[in-house]
Symmetry: C3
């Protein structure tokens, strides 16, 4: 992939004065950009690096200092402009049709322009929307519905009856539609509670590598529009995850959890069953949620509580060993005083 | 799948008075049950919901209030009866034989009625028991033994020599028989300790999606009869997990851990190497076990200790920032008193 | 596999006096070794077990007490000698060539003696070094480079452009090269930050089952020579993991983390973004790193801090509920004293 500098400038709405025919082959950090790459420098403290670098052009803010001899592209929002250039270099999943080594059941329905990789399997009654790409080794179970322009990663698994909206990305190795974890003890063995529900994943959701979303016991485990989930996350049965939620790696939920829109979870956080987290709540990494979290709350810790409180407790805890000693010393001082006061009293 | 209401009643031993010919197509929650579904209401506080719902029939306890016009099915244990009905709607894994796109080695031995999905691989010397279903993309390594009526999920991996009993369920993406994590530092590099042992998983065990069970360094990593393991759990080399143990999602063990029968682990708990957890111990979610846990103990926290103690400490910790201030104020008060008493003493 | 006792002795440089023709078929623990197996006893406290066992030979330290009738093999370092014998029993991955059910793109380049298992897929422009073994169901994406004598486990995934050195082991189900988790909120949706970088894994690295290594946003996520990573570990985008690092199971990192050479991480530890851990630092299991860790530091806890301090705090915390009571009692005692001193003062 390559573009002329003029094409790059056009994309981000910058008028370029010099020779715009140079070919740009990629983007890179301000430290590593080579002479055929574009970079960006968000703040003027990168001035020296920009001056010494080789980058073909540098996206900067409008108030970045002048730098003769370097191609500065001045924009209102350098980060956003740079992202637009990055997007020009994304390699889209290739639409290559059904690979001869794929296995597509006769009863599966594939819309136009669907790709299915080698060793991938599409089972009976599955329905795949237009322009969806199913990578090598992925498994699309019976009666699964996948919308348009979805991307199912290599060796990902969508089990029987799972439903995906449009533009959903399921990364490699993720398993969607496993059975909820439910058993009842019948005196001599754990008896399996049938898991008859399914999973519905709405438009524009992204689910990371090796993550798991379990099907509901009855009804649906639901992940709503625009939610982004990182790698190795576990979403348990009957969860209802709102819209535009962000869930970082290794998060884990228990059954019947409800998450409000635009909530944000740091990595490795977890939540006990039947709890809810309100809209726009922010949960710090590694937090352990053992009671409901209100909308907009900013929480952290084990147990999760207002972040400010956890940090106060952590600070106080650091002083606790010293405090134990102080209280002991006070105990001695008190005893002495008591004795002394008793003596004084008797003398009066 | 559909059954007449009469068939449903017969299954749970209820004599139905009205017209039992209505067709039931599923089960659902009391909130969502439609006119062709059965639901259950465990307590009388669901009376209003039952009254307003459309469910074809409602399983209730024997003392549930009367509700003319609704089909109440009175039983001693509504939850159990409902589960029995749920089981009628389970879709069993299909016995479809060996898919033409499966790859079964000539030296593999398949009993009668074994199914192997597309792109699944059964290696040399593997032995698969009757009625076992191997889903698409699963890998059964060389000399693996799988018992009867097992279910191996899509893209699951059973590595060389692993042994499974009967009715074992390995969910999608799980990997059984990876190498234990052992190295010795030889001055300039970590040298791999050979992992020569294997894994034995006994009857009626269930292992969740994307979970891992490592093979022993020597001997066996063992998971005993009836134990149920959730998604993304890591069982390390040389563990001996007892019978009827429950292990929720994202639990992780270190090497040479021993777990007693019927112990229960909440999600994301973990345990250091060479430790043991006694029978029927209950370990709360996200607990970090750094010393042995006695049989029957109920523990929680980091580090795991009696749950009651952890909660007491958490409560006390909340008051710690205030306590620090109190002790400081006491220090001042003590100083003043000491000064005052000294003055009094000098006056006498 | 079997060797004569003479061959075993020769391998570890021990001169054996007795009849060395007995056939040894494996190694085992001192508890379980059978008459055709070799075991080891590191300390003399195993004397009784050795005396009562059946092992064909026992590797012991030079000062181990005599035991007539048992074949003691005396060496300077019993553990190392035993490991050398274990290595004689390792089953190497078989070099079987390309399986007829594998799918190798015409544009892929395979060196001599490469094995590709059934249902494995090697995409266009991928390059595989000599003696590398790709197990069943693994996916090698477009333009991936794999060095010599690597071992790619069953159903593992190497995504587009990922680069592996020589003798790299990627265990079953691991996914290398997933997209970094980066989004910017554009007022009404999370917009994906393109992930244009790649992953480079250097010589002699090992990555466990179902682990994930994400590609860099730009540039490389790097795992350097000799580093060993356990199961279910998540390495985020733009991490730079040093040489000979040890990372136990379920560790998780955030973006742009730097780890020094020979650092060691216990299981389930995690680290926030943009932090660094110095060389030879030792991080205890389940630690939560929220600030930089110095070279050589030994840390533990949530938050991670010097291990000694965390244990002091844990000990103090145990006494906190009692401390709260003590301070309350002191408060009462102080009030009484103040009152009493005031009375005394007024009497004077």
């Amino acid at each position: 992939m390559k573009y002329s500098l003029n094409e790059i400038c056009e994309r981000i709405g910058v008028r370029f004065e010099g020779d715009g025919t140079a070919l740009i082959r990629g983007v890179n950090t301000v430290d590593d950009a080579r002479c055929d790459e574009v970079t960006f420098a968000e703040e003027s403290r990168y001035y020296e690096k920009v001056a010494q670098g080789e980058a073909a052009a540098i996206i900067v803010a409008e108030d970045f200092p002048d730098l003769p001899g370097r191609n500065l592209l001045r924009v209102a929002n350098p980060r956003l402009a740079f992202m637009q250039i990055m997007e020009m270099f994304v390699v889209p999943p290739e639409v290559t049709g059904v690979h001869p080594d794929a296995s597509v059941a006769d009863g599966a329905v594939l819309a136009e322009m669907v790709s299915v990789g080698a060793s991938a399997v599409v089972a009976d009654q599955a329905s795949i929307g237009a322009y969806t790409v199913i990578e090598a080794g992925a498994y699309i179970g019976a009666a699964v519905t996948v919308g348009e322009r979805c991307h199912i990663g290599a060796n990902a698994v969508l089990m029987r009856g799972v439903r995906l909206g449009n533009r959903v990305i399921i990364h490699a190795g993720a398993t969607i539609g496993g059975e909820g974890f439910g058993f009842v003890w019948l005196g001599d063995h754990h008896h399996k509670v049938p898991q008859l529900g399914s999973v519905q994943i709405d438009d524009d959701v992204e689910i990371g590598c090796n993550s798991c979303v379990d099907r509901a016991t009855m009804g649906l485990t639901r992940i709503r529009r625009g939610t982004k989930i990182d790698n190795q996350v576990h979403i348990a049965h009957n969860n209802d995850i709102g819209e535009d939620v962000i869930i970082a790696g290794q998060f884990g939920s228990s059954g019947s959890v409800t998450i409000g829109n635009q909530a944000v979870f740091g990595g490795k956080a977890c939540i006990a069953d039947h709890l809810s987290v309100g809209e726009k709540a922010r949960v710090g990494g590694a937090s352990v949620i053992i009671k409901d979290i209100e909308a907009g709350a900013v929480v952290f810790g084990m147990p999760a509580q207002p972040k400010r409180q956890t940090f106060q407790e952590m600070a106080a805890l650091k002083r606790l060993p010293e405090l134990v000693k102080t209280v002991k010393a006070q105990e001695r001082a008190l005893r002495q005083l008591q004795k002394r006061v008793a003596e004084l009293t008797s003398k009066l």
